[in-house]
């Protein structure tokens, strides 16, 4: 196990370096950040002075080398736009995004698990149909439409919740539901079909035969096995969420990491982009590792190769 983890972590470092090279090249392919950092009417000599001060006139390989040597020490440079250290800028947003992700995921699980189970147990009944319609709508509604609808109904008309911002737990509700609704739908459907498959297995029949009551059969045997694909999908979804939910954050003016990244990309703020990419890569690698380890508990047949 330890050997496996160490090997995975080493692969992770390689992935990090590879990702940073790809991102660096892509950004520079789109052009020079100077045109968005200076007013359009800046004379050419001043543009050159600015570029020299920022180090843009060095060869790309040199620029990347300098970046990497500082990055491993935790210094991602200063944001071009905000003039503050890039990594702390990104890290500052992480708590807000973590809160939103937690709320979204909690909402998704609280709704999808009962719905998925119910739909599987009451298969082909009216309740099943209703549940499937519910999940279909959840996946079909575009995020921005749902966000604006929720805002109009609950914030503007009913005034139960704030329209935007990040003050207090109330401002997490609407963005959380917006972000969670897609996952909720996906997980519910997946759980339903996975559970149906498991319930048809022989060992379930055996469990009933042993005399276990239906609740025990469901919880101890069926769900644990049905959870496997759900854990995969759920884990993937969390990683996406932790990269920031740009639509919900923009519409609800929520200061998460997604908005910061989007702005950084639009303004070619390379230090911030690199810091963001490094952070999300670390989170993704870490989460994937945790999910894989969790598997071994869920399914003893899985050996970490």
């Amino acid at each position: 196990m330890i050997q496996y983890i160490v090997r995975r972590l080493m692969h992770g470092v390689l992935v990090l370096v590879g990702v940073s090279i790809v991102v660096f090249s892509l950004i520079h392919l789109t052009g020079d950040p100077t045109s968005v950092l200076l007013p359009l009417n800046t004379p050419e000599e001043d543009v050159e002075i600015f570029r020299h001060q920022m180090g843009f006139d060095k060869p790309l390989v040199v620029q990347y080398g300098l970046f990497l040597s500082r990055a491993v020490q935790g210094d991602f440079g200063y944001s071009y736009r905000h003039r503050r250290p890039a990594l702390p800028l990104v890290l500052d947003r992480l708590p807000a995004t973590l809160k939103l992700t937690t709320v979204a995921f909690a909402f998704a699980m609280l709704v999808s698990i009962p719905v998925g189970i119910l739909a599987a147990l009451k298969r082909n009944t009216f309740i099943d149909g209703l549940a499937r319609l519910f999940t279909l709508l959840g996946q079909a509604f575009p995020g921005f439409w749902l966000a604006i609808m929720l805002m109009l109904i609950f914030a503007v008309k009913l005034r139960w919740l704030p329209v935007s911002g990040s003050e207090g737990w109330k401002s997490l509700v609407l963005p959380g539901i917006t972000v969670g609704s897609f996952i909720m739908a996906a997980v519910a459907r997946l759980l339903r079909s996975s559970l149906l498959e498991v319930l048809g297995e022989n060992y379930i029949l055996t469990a009933h035969g042993k005399g276990l009551n239906p609740r025990q059969v469901l919880t101890w045997h069926a769900l644990k096995n049905a959870a496997i694909p759900v854990v995969t999908v759920g884990g993937l979804q969390i990683t996406f969420l932790l990269g920031g939910s740009i639509i919900a954050e923009t519409i609800f003016a929520y200061p998460g990491i997604g908005r910061l990244a989007f702005q950084a990309i639009s303004t070619r703020d390379i230090p911030v982009i690199q810091a963001y990419v490094a952070l999300t890569a670390v989170i993704t690698i870490g989460l994937n590792l945790l999910v894989d380890i969790f598997y071994t508990w869920l399914d003893p047949r899985v050996r970490l190769a």
Binding site: M10, V13, L14, V17, T30, G31, D32, S35, V36, L37, L38, P39, L40, N41, T42, P43, E44, D46, I49, F50, Q53, L68, S69, R70, V72, Q73, G74, D75, Y78, R81, H82, R83, R84, P85, L87, P88, L89, D92, R93, I148, M151, L152, A155, V156, R159, P162, V163, S164, G165, T250, I251, F252, A253, P255, R259, L260, Q263, S266, T267, R268
Partner: protein, 536 residues
């Protein structure tokens, strides 16, 4: 271990070793040392207690403003957009102030006079303090100007002050600014230069200056949570004599909300008191909810520029350029798509500019005239071009113009570009034959040189007479003489257009109906200084 694993190790080990060595190698001499972001503690907002006297202190009033973008920085030299500059206007002052309609009035300088052609003497206001207690005096002015001119500071606004050669301190309250060349718009530029405290800025690191501003303005910085809000509190010691009056609000909170519909929702639900940059189609909703809309024409104009300097372009012929002006019904577009919030312009000098010439009339809608001009120029069968638009502005406006041009035989394909790419093309002269642009922003029209002078930095237009006038207007500090030159330019460029003259943009704001006395500012920044909010 098997072979493939060995291969992985052979590649991975040296890379890992290299990374680890660099990581442990200690920081090499870097230009800027990484620092932790400074923790900002909000200063206590003065609590008002009811006194025993007959006259009760009014309840502290808190104002909330929704801006359309986040401020780039709290260092005013790095703030370019009107959203961030709205915050700067509350915290800082300049030697010369620009009031709501763009006129220049005394700010931190009580008066100024020209000494010859290349020097301006500023007589500074006495008894003014920065928020941290430092006195405002000649040393502050010298420090501020030197800082903006210093290449090390690398301020994006530096090139605007290139005409300044040096600052001479005569005494504590008198400075003489020496110029390299006579630059008629220097007063306008100086009105955009926020005065900084030398001890604080001189001694702090870049990150602190960028996040904890100290100025002389009517409000003191309290805290900045990036992408969430900036809060400022009343400056009890704000100096008298500013166009900003005396601070009326206990605190002002600026919230950047980039999504227009969310800004509107906040106004309607009472979450904010002022909303910047409403869209015209939101106006009816605002009025229906009993809220207030206010607007004013800006010095910023919308043009559809063309590449008239390319001999192969149809637009190199002045008749074609006149034709496209006749071909488009600008008033109809303003009515239908901007709901009247726009003023048609007839030249590069518009109603808010110095030297505005009312005798210059905008082009009337006359497609027959357009067709006949195109025929004269040899384009009876029309031609096809591409129109570049930036996604940062409404596409439906460009579609409307393109539609009308197609009716005189000019077929247009619209290409939408992101701002960065759009600007890159413009600077590199790689844009399509026509592109929609906003230009201008200051009552002082000297900025037209970039697009209308033969030697302009991003110009695609050349007229010798116009260029001579632009240079002359720049070379004198006498504002009346300059106005005369710009009036002449207005006439010449009406007859020889550099593209389609569309409209002067309007700023649109939504207000809490309990707000009184609010005035929009010609820079499109939000200056709530003349307003009060009656909460009872």
């Amino acid at each position: 271990m098997n072979r493939s694993r060995t291969q992985v190790f052979v590649v991975a080990l040296p890379l890992m070793a290299g990374l680890i060595l660099t990581a442990c190698g200690g920081s090499a001499a870097t230009d800027v040392a990484p620092t932790e972001p400074p923790s900002v503690e909000p200063t206590a907002v003065p609590a008002v207690e009811p006194t025993e006297e007959i006259v009760e202190e009014p309840e502290p009033v808190h104002l909330t403003i929704a801006l359309s973008a986040e401020s780039e920085s709290m260092d005013p030299f790095f703030v370019l957009q009107s959203a961030g500059n709205s915050v700067m206007a509350a915290i800082f002052d300049a030697l010369i102030d620009q009031t709501y309609d763009g006129s220049l009035v005394p700010g931190l300088a009580e008066s100024w006079e020209l000494i010859g052609d290349l020097a301006i003497q500023f007589n500074l206001r006495q008894g003014v303090q920065f928020h941290n207690g430092e006195p405002f005096n000649a040393a502050s002015v010298e420090f501020t100007i030197n800082r903006v001119l210093d290449e090390e500071t690398n301020a994006p606004i530096r090139s605007s002050y290139a005409s300044i050669d040096s600052v001479e301190v005569v005494d504590d309250y008198t400075v003489i600014v020496h110029l390299n060349d006579a630059n008629g718009s220097i007063f306008d530029r100086i009105s955009n230069l926020e005065m900084l405290p030398p001890e604080y800025v001189g001694g702090a690191d870049i990150a602190t200056i960028a996040s904890e501003p100290v100025g002389t303005g009517p409000y003191v910085f309290v805290e900045w949570v990036p992408d969430d809000h900036v809060t400022v509190a009343k400056n009890e010691n704000f100096w008298d004599g500013s166009y900003k009056g005396q601070p009326q609000f206990a605190t002002i909170t600026y919230r950047p909300i980039t999504e227009a519909s969310t800004r509107l929702a906040e106004l309607v639900s009472g979450g904010v008191d002022i909303v910047q940059d409403l869209l015209p189609d939101q106006i009816q909703s605002v009025i229906d909810e009993g809220l207030v809309v206010t607007s004013m024409p800006l010095a910023s104009h919308t043009y559809f520029l063309v590449d008239s300097d390319d001999p192969e372009s149809p637009f190199s012929d002045v008749r074609v350029r006149q034709a496209i002006n006749y071909a488009v019904d600008i008033p109809a577009i303003i009515d239908a798509l901007l709901l009247g919030y726009g003023d048609q312009i007839g030249s590069v000098i518009g109603p808010s500019n110095l030297g505005y010439n009312p005798a210059v009339e905008p082009y009337p809608y006359d497609p027959e005239m357009a067709l006949s001009l195109l025929e004269d120029a040899g384009y009876a069968d029309g031609f096809a071009i591409t129109l570049d638009v930036c996604t940062c502005d409404r596409t439906d406006l460009a579609l409307a113009v393109a539609g009308q041009l197609s009716e005189v035989g000019i077929d247009i394909e619209i290409r939408e570009l992101e701002l960065a790419q759009f600007n890159d093309n413009w600077i590199g002269r790689e844009q399509s034959r026509m592109w929609r642009a906003r230009w201008g922003g200051s009552a002082d029209p000297s900025g037209i040189e970039f697009i209308a002078s033969c030697t302009g930095f991003i110009t695609r237009f050349c007229d010798e007479e116009v260029t001579a006038l632009i240079d002359a207007a720049k070379a004198t500090l006498d504002q009346d003489v300059r106005a005369g030159y710009y009036s002449e330019i207005a006439v010449l460029m009406h007859d020889n257009p550099l593209g389609i003259y569309a409209w002067a943009n309007h700023t649109l704001l939504g207000l809490n109906p309990l707000m009184e006395g609010f005035q929009p500012h010609v820079s499109s920044e939000v200056h709530p200084f003349s307003a009060t909010l009656n909460v009872e």
